[in-house]
Structure formats: C-alpha cells, structure tokens
C-alpha cells in the first residue's frame, strides 16, 4: 500500500494538463527522493503564485505588486501611452513582448468570443478596455492581435465596430508568409491571404 500522502500528491499532479496518472506518479517519487529543500521550495513557489500573482486591474496582465498598484507594463514610463495592443491571453502578450519591437501598452482579453463555448463580450475584459478609453485617455491606436481563426476574427471585428465610432485608429496584425518560410511550402490559405494583403514597394 502506498501511503495516503503520496496518493494525494499523485492525484493533485494528475490534474495538471498533459500529465497522466503514470507521469504524476513518476513526478511524485522524484519529489520524494529529492532533498527536502526541493519539496519545500516547490510548495513555497506554488503558494506564492496563488497568493501574490494577481491580474493588473488596468490591463489584466499578471501582476505581483501590492494591492492598488498597476503592473510593470502599465507603470513603465518609457512605454508609449498612445498605443494599446489587445491580445487573447498572457501567452500571446509574452510572445509579442519577446519581439522587443512593441513599446506600447497591452490589454489582455482573457479569451475570445466563442458562442459555442458560451463566451460572449461580457465574459471578456472588453468593458474594462472601454473604461480605459474614457475621459482624458491618451490612447490613439488599438492594435488587435487576436488569432487569425474564426473566433479571433469575430472578436477583432466586434472590437473594431465598438472602437472605430469613438474615433480611434484600429489596426489588425498582418497575415502572410512566415519569415524564413518557403513560398512553395506555405499552405494555400496563408498564401491567398498574403496575396490579398500585398503591399506596394
């Protein structure tokens, strides 16, 4: 019989995405065999994540500062207040940040419109985006960086219809051939979009 403590750990680990019962067991035994400091460090890190990391109440990125402050994206004075990039999730925000090309602010929707999964505008951080635009807002352009799939496109369109009348410039990430990609290997849909969105030289 395995001790209950191990069973509980395995059960918790097996809830993680991509982790099956067997892998969970392997991980649990790894923790058990490691020096106790490792397990304590892991436990502390887990607790800290849930206790400290919150969403920034301006852009809804991750934020671990004290209550009532905004995240580093929002507070960084070197960033351009006129530009806001709207993304589906944190992972997309980080992907754009890794380019080091974008120096504006962000707004994380935490999802996309998806009627089939019961997600409507009210489930996304869209109201909060509108709040940011009220009053003496410095924001001039919104870059919609949702994915180029059916839901991402609908969300982009929804935002466009909402934001354009306010007098904002609304733009969308371009779609086309990936860098270092070969034309002959590009799929038809991508090539067709790239052709449609060609630009003058």
């Amino acid at each position: 019989m395995t001790p209950d403590a191990i069973n509980r750990l395995v059960a918790q680990l097996a809830k993680l995405p991509g982790i099956g019962e067997k892998t969970a067991q392997r991980l649990a035994f790894y923790v058990l065999r490691s020096p106790p400091e490792y397990a304590r460090g892991l436990a502390a890190a887990l607790t800290e994540v849930v206790d400290k990391v919150k969403l920034c109440n301006q852009c809804f990125s991750l934020h671990d500062g004290p209550e009532g402050t905004v995240c580093s994206f929002c507070s960084d004075s070197r960033r351009d207040d006129r530009l806001v990039c709207v993304v589906e999730g944190i992972a997309d925000e980080l992907a754009i940040e890794r380019t080091r090309e974008f120096k504006g602010r962000y707004h994380v929707l935490h999802g996309v419109l998806s009627p089939l999964e019961g997600v409507g505008p009210d489930q996304l951080r869209i109201k909060e985006l509108l709040v940011r635009l009220q009053g003496e807002s410095p924001i001039e352009e919104i870059i919609v960086a949702t994915n180029p799939d059916v839901e991402g496109e609908a969300t982009a369109l929804y935002l466009t219809r909402l934001l354009k009348p306010i007098g904002l410039k609304v733009s969308r990430l371009a779609q086309g051939i990936p860098m270092g990609g070969d034309l002959e290997f590009a799929d038809q849909a991508t090539l067709a979009r790239a052709l449609a969105a060609r630009r003058d030289l």
């Binding site: 419109l113 009627p115 059916v150």
Partner: protein, 387 residues
C-alpha cells in the same frame, strides 16, 4: 475507340500515376487486424450484410479523404473497446512508393506520410484521389437539399482538397452565428460573425462554381450515354437569395460583398427563426430532366441514372485534371440498379482501367466488372480471406 493494344499501354501509364499496393486496418470498426493487397484493377469483397464489407471501403475512403463515407462520429469508426483505430495504405504515386496512414481517436484524427506526421493536408492528399458510389447516393436526386449539398460537396472536395478546411471554417462560423441567433444575442455581437461568414462563404461559392463549370456538361453527356431517357439532364447550381450580382461571372470579392449584404438584410428574419437563412449551407443542386425538376418527375431508374452520370463525369473530370484515374469505391452493388444500367456501370468500370473496390452480397452482380486479375475476397465477421 482506340485499338485494344493502344489502350492497354495507356492503362499501364495510368496505373503508374497512382496505385494502391497494400492496405492495412487496425481496430477499424469490426476489422480488428486486416491486411490486403488489392488487384491493380478490380478487388471484390463478397459477404452477407453486416460482416464488414462496407468497413473495408469506409476505411479506405477515410484514409484517402479524412472524411467518413457515411455521416457519423469519429468514435463510431473505432472498434468497440479499442482506444483508437489506424488505416495504412502503401501507394505508388508518380512512380514513388509512399505510405500514408491515419490514426483515428474519438477526439480527432492524425494523418501520417511515410511515418511522419503530415505537415499539411496538401502534402497528405498530394496525388491520392477517390470517388465513392454508395447505395445512399441513389436517393440523392429525389431526397432533400441537404443530401444533394453533401453530394455536391464531396465532388468539390475531391477536386479541390483545400475545400475540406474551408468548409469546416465556414461551418464553425455558421454554428456560432446560429447559436447567437437562438440566444437572442445583441446585434453588435451577432454581426461580428458576418464578415467571416461572408468571406469563407464566398470562397465556398467560388469552389462549387468552379466544379460545376467543369462537371455539368460532362455529366449531361454521360447521362446520354447511359441512355433510355430522351430528355437531356441538366445539373445547375445557383446560390439562393443572391441579388445584384451575376453568379456566373462575379468575382470572389463581389460575392463576399453580396453575401454580407444579404446577411444584413435578412437579419430580422433570421433573428425570428433562429438560424441563418442565406449562404452556401442553404443552397441546392438543381437537377432536371428537360423541362422538369428531377426531384418531382424523375422515375426511380432515371434518378439513379442521373447519379451514375454525375459519378462518371466526376471520374472523367478528375482524370482530366489530375492526369490519372481516381480509385473507385462501389459499395453494395446489388439489384438497386436495373440490369441494363448495372451492365453499363460494370462495363464502364472494366473498360476504364481504374483500380476499383467493389462490395456485393452476390458475385453475379459484379461479374461483368471483373477480369482475370481480379482479387476476390470473402468477408465474414470482420475476417477477410481469399474467395
């Protein structure tokens, strides 16, 4: 007709372009473990109903198209109690041997080319083409519009494999919009789906139009060849509720604008009824005999001849566009067709030189399509043996 010798040579060249060399099924429906080497021409599975004959064709069809032959869930393709199924085919394509395989899980399918995950559907489908003829097809002419749409779309997909992804994208946008209509969502949210629906919908229209341009004349000619009906067959496709543009000549961008306009215009009605009433999903394939709509006026025999003519046209058209004949699958060849039309079909198959897979309960029905090199198989309770 060319001299017999010349034709033989031509058949040989065709066989080089695409040939199925071996086929393997694992846990596909009731086929636990089946391996077979088909004939270069006719491979004929004989067996009682419910033994697994159709599963042989269903597996091959899924392998070649990634679509089920009969509508249904992926889970239904997997043998009861097995976690997943796999179908593998070894093909000779343009002179090179390729192995294509598909893994089927209840949650989805994965395509492989030569043991590696296929990077794109273009790579996967490159060079494999198949036309199926099932008893369900016989009901198409006199049945409902959805059956005819599915029938048309199978042909569009066979000709333009990219249509598979495009129609899925459309279906997803349509389902989303319909859900919102039913839920009485705010119009602002609803209209967010219209642009995507119009863009992809225009694409589907253009695809169907391109197929009809190639196929409709061929099908009318084939119908004459099958004979017994004096009135000419007309196959026509026109989007319903389309206004302001001429479908035959409009550009894709014009069609997109037109569809967007109709969606907007019909929104009050759509809201009332809870579904989207315009777009490729609401169209019909018009089939008529002379002046009369075939749906109301064609006899049982005539409507089957119309389907047969369409399939023959499709085979010829694929041969013209691909440069080689598709694989032909004929499920449950039986007394459904009258003796004369059956003789035409079997004779056509034998003369075409195509690689063919037939299933039947009685070998007498297919004798005419067989030859010295035919492979006869007996199917019984999921076991396949030489007959």
């Amino acid at each position: 007709m060319p001299p017999v010798g010349a034709k033989r040579l031509w058949v040989y060249v065709v066989a080089l372009a695409m040939k199925l060399l071996a086929l393997q099924y694992e846990h596909f429906r009731n086929l636990a473990q089946v391996t077979l080497e088909p004939s270069a021409h006719a491979t004929i599975a004989v067996g009682e109903n419910g033994q697994g004959k159709t599963n042989l064709l269903e597996g091959l069809y899924f392998l070649a198209t990634l679509k089920p032959l009969r509508a249904g869930k992926l889970a239904e393709l997997v043998a009861f109690g097995a976690p997943g199924a796999r179908v593998t085919g070894r093909f000779l394509l343009q002179g090179a041997e390729r192995e294509i395989a598909v893994d089927i899980l209840p949650t989805g399918r994965t395509a492989f080319v030569d043991g590696k995950r296929a990077p794109s559907l273009d790579a996967y489908f490159g060079g494999v083409s198949v036309v199926a003829f099932t008893p369900d097809d016989l009901a198409v002419v006199r049945g409902g519009p959805d059956g005819r749409r599915a029938f048309l779309d199978r042909s569009v997909f066979n000709r333009f494999p990219a249509f598979l992804d495009e129609s899925r994208e459309y279906a997803r946008a349509l389902k989303s919009r319909n859900r919102l209509l039913k839920d009485h969502a705010p119009v602002s949210h609803l209209q967010a789906w219209d642009a995507t629906l119009a863009r992809v919908g225009a694409r589907l229209w253009v695809r169907r139009r391109a197929l009809m341009d190639e196929l409709s004349t061929r099908a009318a000619t084939a119908f004459q060849r099958i004979g017994r009906t004096v009135a000419p067959a007309v196959f026509d496709y026109q989007p319903s509720h389309l206004k302001d543009v001429v479908f035959a000549t409009a550009t894709e961008a014009e069609l997109q604008q037109a569809l967007l306009g109709r969606l907007d215009e019909r929104l009050p009605r759509d809201l009332e009824r809870g579904f989207t009433s315009v777009g490729p999903h609401a169209d019909d394939l018009d089939i008529s005999l002379g002046e009369h709509g075939a749906r109301q006026y064609a006899s049982q025999g005539q409507s089957r001849a119309l389907v047969l003519a369409w399939k023959v046209a499709e085979i010829e058209n694929l041969q013209a566009s691909n440069g080689f004949l598709p694989l032909l699958l004929l499920d449950d060849v039986s007394s459904e067709l009258d003796p004369e039309r059956n003789a035409f079909l079997m004779g056509y198959l034998a003369d075409s030189g195509a690689q063919t897979f037939l299933t039947t309960t009685d070998r007498a029905f297919v004798e005419r399509a067989s030859g010295a090199d035919s492979r006869w198989l007996k199917v019984r309770a999921g076991e396949v043996t030489a007959l």
